[in-house]
C-alpha cells in the first residue's frame, strides 16, 4: 500500500535539528547527523503517498507535520534469533545443584 487516505494510521518523519543546529556539547559523530523524529497519527490530508509532506493528528489529538514514511505502521520486534551461547546455563546450574561438581 503506497497511498494513504484521510483517517489512515500513519507514521511521519521530521528533522528537528540540522547538523549545524545541534547542541555544542554533542560528540563529533553525533554532530555530523541531524536530530530526527518519528511519530504516528491519523492522516489529515485527503490523500497522500509515501514521501509526501503531510499533517497528522496524534492519538492524543496533537497536530504534527512531517514526511509520510509508513502506512499502518506495525511493530516488528520479536524474541530474537536462537542464541546457542545461552543454552548451557540451565543445565549447568541444575548440574551444580544436584551435586555434579562436588566430585571435581
Amino acid at each position: 500500500m503506497n497511498k494513504a487516505k484521510k483517517g489512515d494510521w500513519v507514521r511521519v518523519y521530521n528533522i528537528v535539528l540540522k547538523p549545524e543546529e545541534r547542541a555544542p556539547q554533542v560528540p563529533d559523530d553525533t554532530k555530523k547527523v541531524p536530530l530526527e523524529m518519528w511519530v504516528k497519527g491519523f492522516l489529515l490530508n485527503e490523500e497522500a503517498k509515501i514521501g509526501d509532506e503531510v499533517e497528522i493528528e496524534t492519538y492524543i489529538g496533537r497536530k504534527i507535520k512531517g514526511k509520510l514514511v509508513e502506512i499502518n505502521p506495525y511493530y516488528s520486534h520479536d524474541y530474537g534469533k536462537c542464541i546457542p551461547e545461552l543454552l548451557f546455563i540451565g543445565r549447568q546450574l541444575r548440574g551444580i545443584l544436584e551435586g555434579g561438581e562436588d566430585n571435581e
Partner: protein, 472 residues
C-alpha cells in the same frame, strides 16, 4: 508567537518553562551557596508516606510479593566458603500495573498533575518509566506524551526501546521517537511549552517519594516473613531515584541498620550521546552511563533540584557486567521459575555475588524485577548485539569490553560485584558543586549540606575542600 524556537532560544527559557510544568518554586529551598533544604523540599512539595500508599492503592500499585530464591541461594552456598552464602530474596516489582517499580513514581506524579488540573503529562524516557507514566495517565484520564531516544542515524533501534514504545502506545500515549542526542531535552521543553502539560519528571519530590513505599513495604514484609529487617538491600542504580526512594522508605520504617548497595552495569568507555556507540550497548538503563554522572551531579536532571540523591544513602557501589546480568536472568528463569527482564536483574547479579561474602544466616534482597517480553528479553537483546557486531562469548566476565563483547560467565563462580571507589565519587560530586556554583568560600551551612549529601563527615568534606583549594 514570536518565540525563538532554536536550540539556544528554547534552552534559555528552560527555567521559566520548568516552573510552569512542575509547579514547584525551587528557589524557596535554596541558600545562596551550595546548600539547599532537601528535607523541607521533600516534606512541603511531596506527600506523606500514608498519603502515597493510598494514592498507589487506588491504581493497584505496590504491595508486590517477595520471593526467597532458595535455589539461587543454594547455588551461592555451593560456591561460597563454608558458612557463607546469605539467603537471597527478590521483591517482584514486575507485578506493578506497568511491569516495574516505576509505576510507584508515576502514580504520585500523575495524581499530582491531575490534582493541579493539568490536562496531560509528558515524560522523556526510553524505558520503564514511560510505560508507567502512560499506564497511570490512562487510569486517571490524562493525555500523555512520551519522548524517546530511540534510533541511531541509520534508523536502527534497540528491541528493548521499541518494545517500550509499543507498551506506551498500547496505553494510548503519543510516542515521539528521536535519534540520539541530549537535545531530547530541547524537544521536551518545546512540547511542555506548546502543550502546557505537566512535566512528569523522574526527579521531582513526588517521583522519589513514590518509591519510598517500596522500602517501607520491604521492611514490613520482612518483619512479617522472618521477624526482622534484611541485612543488605541491593538497588539497581541509574538516575538514583530507585536507591534514594527505597533507602528513605526503609528509614521511615525504622530499618536503620540495613546496608544499601547500589549496583550498575559497567558500560565504561561508551559515550551515551554518541550516535555510533548508541547501539553498541545492550543495556538501556541501570548502567554506569547514568549511574556515575547522576551520582556525581544529581542536579543535571530535568528539574532544578533533583530529589534523587543516591550518595546520601549509599553504603557501597558495585558494578556487574552485561554478560553476568544476562546469565543471572537465565538462572532466575531456570532455577526459580521467574522470567523477568534483564535490566531489573542488575541488582540480582550483584546480590548473588555479594551473598557469597555474607554469613549463611544473613539476608540480602534485590529490591526489583521488571517485566519481560518480545524485545525486552535476553534473546532479542543478544540477537541485536550480534547484529551490531558485538561478540557473544562464553568465558570470563572480567574480559568483557563494553561495546565490543558480552561475556556470559562459563561458570557462576565467575560472577562478581566489583567495587567502585565511593570516596572518589563523593569527591567528584563536591568538586561539581564548587564548579557549578562558582563560589570561592564555603559556609558552615554548605559543609553540613555536603556532609549529608555525601553520607560522610566534616573531616572528609574539609579534606576535599582543602585539596580543591577552597576556603571555608
Amino acid at each position: 508567537m514570536n518565540r525563538d524556537m532554536s536550540y539556544q532560544g528554547v534552552m534559555s527559557r528552560r527555567n521559566e518553562i520548568m516552573k510552569k510544568a512542575v509547579g514547584i518554586d525551587y528557589e524557596r529551598f535554596e541558600s545562596k551557596g551550595i546548600a539547599f533544604d532537601y528535607e523541607r523540599m521533600m516534606r512541603e512539595t511531596g506527600y506523606s508516606l500514608q498519603e502515597i500508599q493510598k494514592i498507589q492503592n487506588e491504581t493497584g500499585v505496590g504491595n508486590t510479593p517477595i520471593y526467597e530464591l532458595k535455589n539461587l541461594t543454594a547455588l551461592a552456598r555451593k560456591l561460597a566458603p563454608k558458612g557463607k552464602g546469605a539467603r537471597i530474596f527478590i521483591k517482584d516489582e514486575a507485578c506493578n500495573p506497568s511491569g516495574s517499580f516505576k509505576a510507584r513514581r508515576a502514580a504520585t506524579s500523575i495524581y499530582h498533575a491531575k490534582k493541579l488540573g493539568y490536562k496531560g503529562v509528558i515524560a522523556a524516557t526510553s524505558g520503564n518509566y514511560g510505560a508507567a507514566v502512560a499506564s497511570q495517565a490512562a487510569m486517571k484520564g490524562l493525555k500523555c506524551i512520551i519522548v524517546q531516544e530511540c534510533y541511531d542515524s541509520r534508523g536502527i533501534g534497540q528491541p528493548e526501546i521499541i518494545e517500550k514504545a509499543r507498551k506506551c502506545e498500547a496505553y494510548g500515549a503519543e510516542v515521539l521517537q528521536l535519534t540520539v542526542g541530549p537535545e531530547l531535552f530541547y524537544t521536551f521543553l518545546k512540547l511542555l511549552e506548546e502543550t502546557g502539560y505537566f512535566n512528569a519528571s523522574l526527579y521531582t519530590p513526588f517521583g522519589i517519594a513514590g518509591v519510598e513505599t517500596l522500602g517501607y513495604e520491604l521492611a514490613m514484609q520482612f518483619r512479617e516473613l522472618v521477624g526482622r529487617d534484611p541485612d543488605v538491600v541491593v538497588a539497581t542504580n541509574a538516575g538514583g531515584g530507585n536507591l534514594t526512594g527505597t533507602a528513605r522508605g526503609l528509614i521511615k520504617a525504622g530499618a536503620y541498620d540495613v546496608k544499601i548497595v547500589g549496583a550498575s552495569v559497567n558500560l565504561k568507555g561508551l559515550h551515551m550521546a554518541s550516535d555510533t556507540q548508541f547501539n553498541r550497548k545492550s543495556f538501556t538503563t541501570g548502567h554506569t552511563g547514568f549511574g556515575i554522572p547522576f551520582a556525581t551531579w544529581p542536579d543535571r536532571s530535568d528539574v532544578p533540584r533533583s530529589a534523587a540523591r543516591p550518595l546520601r544513602y549509599m553504603d557501597r557501589y558495585v558494578t556487574v557486567n552485561q554478560g553476568e546480568v544476562f546469565y543471572i536472568t537465565e538462572a532466575l528463569a531456570q532455577l526459580e521459575g521467574l522470567e523477568r527482564g534483564p535490566a531489573g536483574n542488575t541488582s540480582l547479579a550483584a546480590a548473588f555475588a555479594l551473598a557469597q561474602e555474607l554469613d549463611e544466616d544473613q539476608i540480602i534482597v534485590a529490591q526489583e524485577t521488571e517485566y519481560t517480553g518480545a524485545g525486552k528479553h535476553i534473546q532479542p537483546q543478544l540477537t541485536f548485539a550480534k547484529q551490531n557486531g558485538v561478540d557473544i562469548i562464553i568465558g570470563n566476565p572480567d574480559d568483557e569490553v563494553p561495546g565490543k563483547n558480552i561475556i556470559l560467565p562459563s561458570h557462576p563462580s565467575l560472577i562478581k560485584a566489583r567495587d567502585l571507589d565511593l570516596d572518589k565519587i563523593k569527591k567528584s560530586y563536591i568538586k561539581n558543586c564548587i564548579e557549578t556554583t562558582k563560589i570561592n568560600y564555603v559556609t558552615k551551612e554548605d559543609i553540613d549540606f555536603l556532609v549529608e549529601d555525601t553520607k560522610s563527615n566534616e573531616e572528609f568534606v574539609k579534606q576535599i575542600l582543602n585539596e580543591l583549594g577552597v576556603k571555608y
